[in-house]
Symmetry: C2
Subunit: 431 residues, 2 copies
């Protein structure tokens, strides 16, 4: 066996180093699985002299992208450089030169995935991006192949490790949002500018990718309604725990009656829900299929080696397809047109915390505001608070149209005895 | 598009009916994914006249296996009849007639999997059996493809729904083993003769199959050390809960230093372990890979539609391979020779419950028996019991060679002040 497949890398950060490490470490297994060797031929870097914690032959490094993209020896390009616009140009160039591409770039795939996929198909190339969602968890393959025979109706994902770490820390150690964030930053689970994570944007990108594959419909990033965890109060986590819930940042993607609904929002999850026990920086994706029922895929959402593992599984799939002569034949085009479910057709259970005047009749009047909108309660908690003559009321509704709940919020705002609507969240599962 | 692939079924029980239902229900999606129709051509049954809860054209039914196995129209055979010896002959005949086979038969695959796989390869046919392990969970595909680039070191599985239901019921409702079993039987989660489930044999079959695929080594059913949950006492579940553990029937498959260790045994699992929250009849498989770290796949372990979903995902994979002209090219042969880890090299943490005489110095003597074998304790619980002058001592050891623990058990047996060794179990994870 003297055949080999040469790969080129775009980028050599922590994930790129992990990929090179795994390729070297697994030569024997790769040769066994593929019947050929896999060699790294060129690596695009910004600075050749930079000190790295991986031993790479200097002659492999280049600062000229064309040494990878126009290199006739290279069959497959692994993109681990990040970025969107010029990265997209690089990948398009790779396809036009008949090179297969494996990418870990969720930002790029979320925004330009369908266009890149189309370019791949046009050139009989493969485009894989398992690592772009939930790091080491083989979730895209699970949806594309494992559940290929089912109608997937609902996906719920904990797809951002930073926010899950922060919420776990708050819940288990009773620290504030600010302290938990600082702790996550110190441990490297959150970046210095945590905006994209804590505002839910990172999770939204992953939900757009998941939704596209699960429902065969062209989900755009703009279709995802996003709310982050910034400024979440410990008090709500405490009440949630008392009521049998745990707070998680959940990405939802539903597809019923050919109507799509995708969102990312802090959610009170019943403690017996499979996602409720997913802690710290771990990720998990819950998939509800019409036939299979409830399934869940759990694992590390980030990290150099887990992400590199996902990339390498894509490399293996792409090389298998090359060697079998079946490249560019992935059958995952967008079968269904996209119709977003209008807000007025959305519904759910809701948690709301009110600060009210502590006097006779107030609760009765609040109840009747809900009652007028035909909303009944599943749980009620009332406690006095420190402020004089105030009380805090926590309500969990039964399932109700969102429009009714919104109307209640409007009425509560203009109701004198309600000092403040402190918070409200979606609720999922029976506690 | 007027092409079609004809499939034949062996068996038309609940799973077979589910397969026919899904194939009919998903024609549009199948045609879209495969570029051809999928039709059921013949179904082998025992009794054509039998009333069924699915509407099948009587002319499709036959009692002659050759109407499927020798049928020139049929490209692919789905085996859902169960049984081992004559089922194996049917499948071998299908292969020799160049038909691909999808099977849900764990008993058969556990015992004759390697032989059947070899026959498939020899005939350029595919042999898939995703449904044989953990029903609707795409775990074989997860291991074979999703984690194909990793070295899997350890698998832990809750792969038998009956026993998990019984243990959950005991744990959550405080009922006895016998009552929980009766309840499971009434709900259809346990068979009238529950031996194969409660004695761990069913789980052992699945662990043999998982071990083979994960480690590319020829694991036999006989390699699996098996202990069931029959007669487990509620008391041990109570103590476990007090100590932060939950009792589960866990299938273990480890592969370190090219040494294999496979077992099924009741285990005290730390409550923060991902498998600890898998309840009732659900299954889950925890996979630890050198690079990816911890992953877990969760879902329904049985049931007509979940199992049929797994079968249909195999059917889709097999038809894709046919249409791409790459059948019989699965690269999952047994790469590594098998060496079982000798018992004396095994080690772990252990829980032991002793009934002892309640008098001065007894605990000190028991401690020194452990100390002589260099075993230290992680947790100790002592409580008086109803019997006069007796006490119960529960110990959880730190990690220790099994041989040392065995020696301690032997010495405790002959130590007068120990009235009885009530129970001992493996412990996994830090509570």
């Amino acid at each position: 066996m003297e055949e080999k497949v040469s790969v080129g890398l775009l980028g050599l950060g922590v994930v790129g180093s992990g990929v090179i490490h795994l390729i070297e470490d697994h030569q024997e297994k790769l040769a066994h699985q593929l019947g050929c060797k896999v060699e790294v031929d060129k690596v695009l870097v910004r600075n050749i002299e930079k000190a790295r914690n991986i031993d790479v032959d200097q002659s492999l490094l280049t600062t000229n992208p064309d040494d990878v993209l126009e290199n006739p020896n290279i069959d497959l390009v692994i993109e681990v450089m990040g970025g969107i616009d010029h990265t997209k140009e690089y990948i398009l160039k790779a396809f036009s030169n008949k090179k297969h591409v494996v990418s870990a770039n969720k930002d790029l795939v979320a925004v330009h995935g369908p266009e890149l996929q189309a370019a791949a198909v046009k050139n009989n190339c493969d485009f894989y991006y398992e690592a772009s969602v939930a790091g080491g968890i083989p979730i895209l393959r699970g949806i594309n192949e494992g559940l290929s025979s089912d109608h997937i109706q609902k996906i719920m994902g904990i797809v951002n490790g930073t926010t899950n770490y922060i919420l776990t820390k708050m819940d288990e150690e009773g620290v504030s949002y600010e302290d938990a964030l600082a702790d996550a930053q110190q441990l490297g689970f959150a970046e210095a500018d945590p905006t994209s994570d804590v505002e839910g944007l990172d999770a939204a990108r992953k939900m757009a990718i998941l939704g596209r594959l699960a429902f065969s419909t062209p989900v755009d990033l703009q279709d995802v309604e996003v709310e982050g965890i910034h400024g979440i109060e410990l008090k709500d986590l405490r009440y949630a725990a008392q009521l049998g819930y745990t707070m998680k940042l959940i990405g939802f993607a539903n597809f019923f009656d050919h109507e799509l609904e995708v969102s990312v929002e802090p959610t009170l999850l019943a403690k017996n829900h499979p996602l409720a026990s997913v802690k710290n920086e771990y990720n998990a994706v819950y998939v509800y299929g019409e036939a299979v029922g409830e399934t869940m895929f759990y694992g590390p959402g980030a990290g150099s080696l887990p992400t590199a593992t996902a990339i390498l599984s894509d490399v293996i799939a792409a090389i298998k397809a090359m060697r079998l002569g079946v490249s560019g034949k992935q059958l995952n085009d967008m079968q269904f047109p996209k119709t977003l479910r209008p807000k007025e057709k959305q519904h759910g259970q809701y948690y709301v915390r009110l600060c009210v005047e502590d006097k006779t009749g107030v609760f009765s009047e609040i109840s009747s505001i809900f009652h007028e909108q035909d909303i009944s309660f599943q749980r009620i908690l009332q406690t006095p608070v420190d402020e004089k003559d105030s009380a805090e009321i926590v309500l969990v509704t039964h399932d109700t149209p969102y429009s009714h709940f919104e109307e209640v919020l409007n009425q509560l705002k203009s109701f004198d005895a309600v000092n403040e609507i402190k918070s409200y969240y979606k609720v999922e599962g029976d506690a």
